[in-house]
Amino acid sequence: MKLKQLLQLIDGTALTPYDENQEFNYVFASDLMSDVLALVQKDSDQTVLVTGLCNAQSLRTADMLDIGTVLYVRDKHVSDEDLQLAESMELTLLATRCTMYETCGLLYGHGLKPVEKA
């Protein structure tokens, strides 16, 4: 799925510069960053991290794993500091008004897969 299609699906917005043709195949959704660090082991460049944890730690977790895109659910407010941090890491930040459940349901229903466990 291309980023443009993903944004349409969840009625989302991009908070940082983005490439609408970027392709995704996997989603991992969690507010527990240790779970993200434990379970996203490959294809991280094709993975979207869906989370309600709207702070620097979700950005740093994504950066450590080379996950390029973080999607915040429930229209969370992102601070200017975190936006700057995301841009310095060249992360794409997305936001949606949908809940975590709705977001995951929409993405799963349109073909995005869970991360593969090693």
Binding site: L32, S34, M64, L65, M89
Partner: protein
């Protein structure tokens, strides 16, 4: 003989800067051209260990070292109070993290098991005076 050595400081409960040392180490190693999969494992282990120091310890030092024989090691030496039950801390799901730590997305009890899983070498000693963790990765000499 060391090919590269760098020291970093970590302060107790410095949540605002949590992960900065790991980001810095990842950036340094990326410039050296490390294999991306190895680099990701190093970054994950380093980040978990740095977060542990911030959440659980009185602060301490992180030392990055690359030896001539190709062993990249990172030492995390804190100033206490030590891990009360190391065997339990190595079990997934056991945690003594504060509510504050959980607000930041940590404290799921996965830290040490994650670190051990992605490291080639893992050694830990703990006492009330402090915890000394060494993680090692085999990289090209």
């Amino acid at each position: 003989m060391s090919l590269f050595h760098q020291d970093y400081q970590v302060q107790r409960e410095d949540y605002a800067n949590a992960g900065r040392v790991s980001s810095s180490i990842k950036s340094v190693l990326k410039q050296m051209g490390l294999n991306p999969n190895v680099l990701r494992n190093i970054a994950v282990a380093c980040y978990e260990a740095e977060i542990n120091m911030i959440i659980h310890s009185e602060g301490g030092e992180i030392e990055l070292n690359i030896a001539e024989d190709g062993l990249l090691s990172i030492h995390f030496n804190d100033h206490g109070p030590g891990i009360s039950d190391l065997e339990k801390a190595m079990s997934p799901g056991w945690s003594t993290a504060s509510e504050k730590a959980r607000e930041f997305g940590f404290g799921a009890g996965m830290g040490l098991p994650n670190i051990k899983r992605v490291s080639d070498e893992f050694d830990i000693e703990t006492s009330p005076q402090g915890t000394r963790l060494m993680i090692g990765f085999r990289i090209q000499p």
